[in-house]
Subunit: 494 residues, 2 copies
């Protein structure tokens, strides 16, 4: 037997790029996911929870910006069969597993198959500040229908989800575009070379930054950027660039105007005409369902992940301003997005299956709600029953049993009760609304003391003597009035 | 550049030992976890969600029955730094991560620290029928107090959880024992050799199977087992075996009687006396909280994972009978367990931190509720608005928008609408309560047809002509009565 070396103590740390979530961070996300699941369910979507682990083969290589094999995922080889074990990996999103599930179970699943899924995904990326290697996704997809009614419905559902989690109408906008319209623009330009198409797409993506004139320069000979560096242009002539400019500036005051502008931009392109017609149908369906342009609008400037999508694309943006780390106002930005994709299931079955889906960024939504002060960051703590007499633990447990039976969060202090100050410090750390005190003398008289800890804090910080007198933060009450007194106190704290 | 080989199609399969959960399988578990979290929260426990990935170093090697390093977990090495990257692994339970979290954040956490955690854990075991490599755990632990009030409280909380998820009083029992009592029995026997102690523990574990006489034989010279094989005994003399027998048969008609019997069994052992006194305190605290022996009882036959625990141990058992796969009646058995452990945090900090916790087996609980018919296995499907006229999709979307706004789960059929029979088959597959039909003729008259699909099924299966006449499964209603009519129909379906 080998000698056992004394091993040093392990480090108590999460791996780099991972983190733990405490208290309200967990419960607020759970609450948000529950609300979103409620909307998804009401729209007819069924829950699906696929395994967190997939074969590398089934996952495929769909991660953006990743070239090397297995790069971007956490993967390992099954040890069982020596070198021949399967390579397994943690899922990097919820769409690749959906494609696998649909291909595996397609004979038993209804068509179309509407499913929602929520849970962690993992990315093997270099961690950085605010960049984590495990995060939540919250998706809904309709698989097996080419009808744009499915796309329209998902846009409406996205708007409903945002309102359901506390983003009021007016504070968000769902913007819809169509990859086919963009293909039509490329057709109208006469740009058929794949490399040149990619250059044009990249230029379109810069419209927000460089504006119309900048795009003209970049599509032509090139442009001096703000830093003084010269950026080479795509090399198109001015006439060729026109459809792009028409496309980028096509947003009109009404849906009809926008659609007319788009029709002009795509010229005779059949795929472009198809795309504009789909956008028109989507707008009509949404209008019929009561979703006007105050909630969902056709907007040609949406260019998210266009390489991945094959038809309509959409994203939800929060329109209110927040202050960035330097105190400057900026838009909060995108919190959800999605679109139509057709190739994922074909990898497995050889048959193209049309699908459309949306992914809501719950972590960004939670950040937005926190930013606006619409959710707190701390859970309400329990009522703490303090321990004045270690031998009467049963009395104290009876009190919390009564409180809990009335639905009130409560606990007996279970640390060392010797130092009473420590008990109140603990209650403070727990964000406790009230402390209950019953010493031997109180016990003999059949009373308990109840300290209102929230009021106590307010008084300590800023109350005048008048207020203090009027509403003392500590009250002596009959023991049998404990539950109603605490109920009233909690109600008063609101 | 290397030539790109044409790769064969990937297999659409979960890795061996993993599975997907659909519809009600997901929502029922979510519902159960929500209910349990509600009870944990009411008891003052805070949510914690630690990362699914830990360093192998931090996880340690606490998996039962596993000797080889890294065996039992899914592990891989960080590629970043060549051969020096950290080894990472998926958590195999929620207790090892708790110890890491507590050690890492102990200066910021309240003491005692009460936390609950729920989520998947992963075991790299050989998969088999019904044995999965990813499953849910649902734990609550109190870290940082040696008070047995913490143990009593967790037993009470466990009873509350079971009732909260639908196991009525009388259908379960929480049984409590104490590892210290068993140590006392070993002391009373004069067995101090570690190997012999382990032999005695193994024998005690066989009490259920071999009975009192069998245990006597196994503690002595040995025993012929049912297969005819001779099992060597521990080699103790008859007098030495007595404390074990006394211990195993100590359960009395009342708590006081059981405790008296245990006191006799442990003789003069100080640790044994300590253990019995702790059980007595627990029983008193539970009685004060209203938790009598109909819910929680002292039971010396509980011998779960005794190696791991250092004090009180407990388990919850469902007491009703179910039929096994061969149609024989058997007890459903254990659904939760836990106890006191003191060594986990010390691995990191060198300081022993007392802790006690419970883990509820939600998958077994769900199986039990299904077995008793207390939860269904299928979600209620959406109301399906059929498509009679492809060009009037907007009309149909308006109907589902109305239904959803009233909180009713509803969808438009989005498959190919050509074959109406397929639309009804789809509704059937979705377990849909009703189908809505509006052809051109209905549209002109301002009416819709509503098919009660549940009643339709019942009638098709077993109704008499009388019933059919009285309550037809299809009704024509004014279009503006759609929502109230469906509401009434759903209410009637119960």
């Amino acid at each position: 037997m080998a000698k056992v070396k004394k091993t040093p103590r392990p480090k108590a740390e999460t791996p780099k790029g991972f983190r733990d979530y405490f208290g309200a961070q967990v419960t607020e996300r759970t609450e948000m996911l529950t609300r979103i699941a409620g909307v998804y369910h009401r729209y007819g979507f069924d829950a699906l929870e696929s395994s967190a682990v997939e074969t590398v083969e089934a996952l495929g290589k769909f991660l953006p910006d990743v070239d090397r094999p297995n790069e971007g995922v956490f993967a390992w080889q099954e040890a069982d069969e020596g070198d021949k074990g399967d390579w397994l990996a943690l899922r990097y999103d919820l769409t690749a597993p959906l494609a696998r599930v649909y291909a595996q179970h397609r004979n038993d699943l209804p068509t179309p198959f509407r499913r929602y899924a929520m849970g962690p995904v993992w990315r093997n990326e270099k961690p950085g500040p605010g960049r984590f290697r495990q995060f939540y996704q919250c998706d809904a997809d309709t698989v097996g229908t080419a009808s744009v009614a499915a796309d329209a419905e998902i846009c409406a559902m996205l708007a409903d989800c945002l309102e359901e989690v506390g983003i009021p109408r007016g504070d968000y906008i769902v913007r819809v575009n169509n990859r086919k319209v963009l293909n039509g623009v490329l057709e109208a330009m006469g740009v058929s070379d794949a490399g040149q198409q990619a250059d044009v797409l990249r230029t379109i993506d810069k419209f927000d930054k460089v504006g119309e004139a900048g795009v003209r320069e970049l599509l032509g000979k090139g442009r001096l950027d703000a830093s003084g560096a010269y950026i080479d242009g795509v090399g198109l002539d001015a006439a060729q660039a026109e459809p792009v400019i028409a496309f980028l500036t096509s947003k009109g005051a009404t849906v009809a105007e926008t659609l007319a502008n788009l029709r002009a931009a795509i010229g005779d392109s059949p795929v472009g005409a198809d795309g504009v017609s789909e956008l028109e149908q989507i707008a009509d369906l949404l209008a019929a369902g009561g979703y006007g342009p105050d909630r969902i609008e056709i907007d040609p400037s949406v260019v998210r992940g266009l390489g991945y999508y094959t038809g309509p694309v959409f994203e939800a943006e929060l329109t209110f301003e927040i202050l960035d780390e330097k105190g400057r106002k900026r838009q909060f930005g995108a919190v959800a997005g999605g679109g139509r994709y057709d190739d994922l299931v074909a990898r497995f079955t050889g048959q193209q299956v049309p699908a459309v889906g949306v992914s809501i960024g719950v972590d960004r939504l939670l950040a937005a709600l926190r930013e606006k002060g619409r959710i707190g960051t701390q859970d309400q703590g329990p009522v703490v029953v303090t321990v004045m007499d270690r031998d009467r633990m049963a009395d104290y447990q009876a009190m919390v049993a009564e409180l809990r039976a009335a639905g009130i969060r409560a606990e007996v202090y279970l640390g060392n009760p010797k130092n009473f100050g420590n008990q109140l410090k603990y209650a403070d750390k727990r964000n406790s609304p009230a402390a209950v005190i019953e010493g031997g003398e109180e016990k003999a008289r059949g009373v308990v003391q109840v300290k209102d800890l929230i009021l106590g804090k307010i008084i300590a910080e800023n109350a005048t003597l008048e207020e203090w007198k009027e509403r003392p933060s500590q009250a002596e009450i009959p023991r049998d009035q404990l539950v109603p007194h605490i109920q009233k106190l909690l109600k008063g704290q609101g």
